[in-house]
């Protein structure tokens, strides 16, 4: 194994740069080093002006997503050696406005998140005294939504989604997966409300089933399956809407 590898990093500082440009850095190639370790080496030893987000370096906080050799990846879980001999290109996540260097603007997603009402909706939600026992939920009932609850909001699926790329109104894979997570939770009664949201705003119809979201998801959330399920629900509702007056739904 060579003892160093070249990183080809996209740089952009809005105060001085008219547009993004490439900058190259050679970093040590060590067996246990990830792309994030390489970037930190640059930040600490070579060029302190490089900016990127990271925190947990254990694949759970969702901060460190970037496009590595064109693919959206968690940089803390992507080994340099898997990209040897290099050069390894590191770019900000695709489909998002770039704030600076490798940092993208997530405010669109943060604004969309509450729209799908990602909390337990229950008729006696406004009770002042909570019951002092748990709602029973068998392991099978837990399994029904578990997968959709594993999303770390890393945005890799948005970076991979061709629909989001063209139509930023699309609410997107992770938000839909989260809606489905609560719909499938045996403690929740909010399916109807969420469906209204997803049908109304360019919710689920934008998706053309490319499945890129599921392919890039580091946590096996399978957002494509959630979108699929929502489309079915929406279709069923449309049929029902012809047959029943709205009040009876």
């Amino acid at each position: 194994m060579a003892d160093s590898i070249r990183l080809r990093v996209s740089r952009y500082r809005p105060d001085t740069d008219p547009e993004p440009h490439w900058q190259e850095y050679d970093v040590p190639l060590r067996k246990e080093w990830t792309v994030l370790d390489g970037l930190n080496h640059v930040k600490n030893e070579v060029d302190t002006t490089l900016s990127f987000r990271w925190s947990c370096r254990m694949g759970i906080c969702g901060s460190c997503g970037m496009n590595v050799d064109g693919e959206p990846r968690l940089t803390c879980a992507t080994f340099l050696s898997d990209h040897a001999p290099g050069p390894v290109t590191v770019e900000p996540l695709a489909n998002f406005p770039v704030v600076r260097d490798l940092v993208v603007d997530l405010s669109d997603f943060m604004a969309k998140l509450p729209r799908v009402k990602p909390w337990i909706i229950h008729p006696d939600d406004h009770r002042t005294v909570e019951p002092d026992v748990e709602y029973l939920q068998t392991p099978e009932q837990l399994d029904a939504y578990k997968q959709f609850s594993m999303c770390i909001n890393c945005m890799l699926c948005y970076a991979a989604c061709p629909v989001y790329g063209l139509d930023p109104e699309f609410i997107g894979p992770a938000a839909i997966a989260l809606a489905e997570r609560y719909d499938l939770d045996s403690r929740d009664r909010g399916e109807r409300e969420r469906l209204d949201v997803l049908v109304e705003h360019d919710g689920v119809y934008g998706c053309t089933f490319v499945g890129e979201c599921t392919r890039v998801c580091p946590k096996h959330v399978d957002p494509a399956a959630a979108i699929q399920r929502y489309k079915l629900k929406a279709a069923m509702e449309t049929v029902k809407a012809f047959l029943l007056p709205r009040g009876a739904r």
Binding site: R13, T49, C56, L113, Y135, S149
Partner: protein
């Protein structure tokens, strides 16, 4: 108004969007929806370090368990330095809080009959640790964050870094914060401020803690005049992965994992922690408390019974006998982390581990309602020291601590804010000074000068040397000298990055200054405590000394910047100091 020095005014401002901060925010929204609440966080709330907690959250729920037993385990675990009134309140309210999270949708692991399942944990005599597989903190944090979205009235300042508390006449009136995206530096005023800023593991070189755990809240409080309590107690977790410091949760041992040395021997049996049994025994062997297990490791190194690795001596955690099925249902994240970061499969291979800095028992001194001695300032979670953890925290007590005391601090801050008066005008001038310091002194500085990374490395090395698992007076004094020198040099760090937007170099400089203050407090407290208790083990004072040191130590910042240490009594209600007995 928004373009001036003061950007907005709130009733209560919460600094921190982790478990403690979000719980406080929801508590306030629930108690008094008319109060104007805001949460400031240097990362998006769901990125907060609570997300990486793995093993679980303790709360008495099983039929064979009792509040008294949880109290006793916590008090003895704390080596009698925990305040027993606080422990009793904590133990009583923890199950209610965990249930509340259940009602909010937290995917707790379940028994076949649908009830919440509990698992064993280190130092706990009964099974009482609620868990969501081995991603408990992740699920708790996302549940809290998503539930907080229901309260649309809570204002959020995401990715904003607090640099200073505004204080006038002994009262806190808000903060100054840098908006990372815009680079805008402005004040947010508030009648009360709650700190939920988390731990400070990054003062050490090898830690389970995330990059953001730089103890900012402790430093903010300290500089504003609130004392820090029991700072000498730093928890080493016995099982971190050697290169990264990634944690392998205690749940791995609770489910039956063994710690073995280079001879394949379960060495804990040599350290008064009980006899090895094939299945785990509570409060025994691998389920002993963390301080004792980490100390046993050092003795194994001295005996030459550890394995050498490129990252220093290690021992092995053996999960192979548990089988793929149990590992995949109860410890899936452990397997994922080992496969991804060590490229080994715990189903078939031994996991290399060594002790790693994990948790700060000390922090901003508060009472049982999260109030600090500084009027209007509250703190909760890892950044606070109530204290329920004393000299050693038990695993799975700190997530529920964030909930119980987050809620308490939130309610107390709400009550205070309802009665508090207007923000005095001098606050604006103070904020202006801080804005100038950041904009002119730091941002305008340019390259050259000391390197932030180099100073940080030196600080971390000094802390590992001086405040490791075993300490002595002379090594701590030497460490304090090094820190004093670094304090001088940090004034001259260079800042090559003059850009406004997302200037992470500026943050690193501010975080380094915070960590240096905290490091100093750890050593100053450690020097004063001439005994060995819990996580503070001094080879020059090897015994616990209740005569002189059954007391909290408080570090105050003097006006000349030096640290002064004084004492405050430990509250004993029902459990007089006794011997800590494990495995017998």
């Amino acid at each position: 108004m928004s373009d001036g020095v003061i950007r907005a005014a709130h009733d209560v401002l919460i600094v921190g969007g982790g478990g403690a901060g979000l719980r406080a925010a929801i508590a306030i929204a629930e108690v008094d929806p008319r109060l104007d609440v805001a949460v400031v966080s240097k990362v998006y709330p769901m990125r907060s370090h609570t997300v990486s907690a793995e093993g679980g959250a303790a709360g008495v729920i099983a039929a064979d368990d009792s509040l008294d037993e949880h109290c006793y385990d916590t008090v003895s675990g704390s080596d009698w330095l925990g305040d027993q009134d606080a422990v009793e309140a904590f133990v009583r309210e923890a199950p209610e809080e965990l249930l509340r999270l259940e009602h909010w949708g937290c995917p707790w692991s379940r028994r076949p009959d649908g009830r919440v399942a509990v698992r064993a944990f280190g130092g706990m005599k009964k099974k009482r640790t609620w868990f969501a597989a081995d991603k408990t903190g992740f699920h708790m944090l996302h549940t809290l964050f998503q539930t907080s979205l229901k309260h649309g009235e809570v204002t959020r300042y995401d990715e904003e870094f607090v640099t200073r508390l505004l204080v006038d006449d002994g009262r806190v009136h808000g903060v100054v914060a840098i908006g990372l995206l815009t680079g805008r530096i402005q004040a947010l005023t508030a009648k009360a401020v709650v700190l939920g800023t988390g731990g400070c593991g990054k003062v050490f070189p090898f830690t389970t803690n995330a990059n953001i755990n730089t103890g900012d809240g402790m430093a903010l409080a300290y500089r504003a005049g609130a004392p820090l309590k029991d700072m000498e107690f730093v928890q080493y977790h016995p099982t971190g992965l050697p290169f990264t410091g990634i944690l392998i949760t205690e749940a791995a041992r609770a489910e039956g994992g063994w710690l073995i040395n280079k001879d394949g021997y379960r060495y804990l049996q040599d350290y008064d922690l009980g006899r090895p049994t094939p299945t785990p025994e509570l409060r025994s062997m691998e389920l002993g408390p963390r301080d004792r297990l980490s100390q046993a490791f050092v003795h194994e190194v001295e005996k030459g019974r550890t394995v050498d690795s490129p990252y220093g001596p290690i021992v092995h955690l053996d999960l192979r006998h548990l089988g793929a099925k149990l590992i995949d249902t109860k410890l899936p994240f452990v397997r994922e982390l080992c496969l991804k970061y060590e490229r080994i499969d715990p189903v078939h291979e031994l996991i290399p581990v060594r002790p790693v800095v994990h948790y700060m028992m000390g922090g901003v001194s508060t009472d049982i309602d999260g109030a600090t001695p500084l009027a209007g300032l509250y703190a909760a979670g890892e950044t606070a020291c109530v204290s329920i953890n004393g000299a050693n925290r038990l695993g799975s007590n700190s997530l529920p601590e964030c909930l119980v005391f987050g809620a308490r601090a939130g309610r107390a801050a709400a009550e205070y804010a309802s009665a508090a008066g207007r923000t005095p005008a001098v606050v604006e001038a103070q904020a202006g000074d801080e804005v100038r310091r950041l904009e002119q002194d730091l941002l305008g500085r340019g390259p050259g000068g000391e390197s932030i990374a180099a100073l940080r490395d030196q600080m971390q090395a000094a802390m590992e040397e001086a405040a490791g698992i075993f300490r002595t007076g002379p090594t701590m004094a030497k460490g304090a000298d090094t820190l004093a020198e670094l304090q001088e040099r940090v004034g001259n760090v260079g800042l090559a990055d003059t850009s406004r937007s997302f200037n992470t170099e500026l943050l690193a400089a501010l975080e380094l200054a915070n960590m240096l203050d905290i490091s100093e407090c750890i050593l100053q407290s450690g020097l004063q405590r001439e005994e060995s208790r819990g996580a503070h083990q001094r080879t020059d004072f090897p015994a616990r000394d209740d005569e002189r040191f059954l007391t909290h130590l408080l570090v105050h910042r003097e006006s000349d910047g030096t640290a002064r240490v004084d004492r405050s009594p430990v509250t004993i209600t029902r459990w007089p100091p006794g011997e800590r007995v494990y495995g017998r």
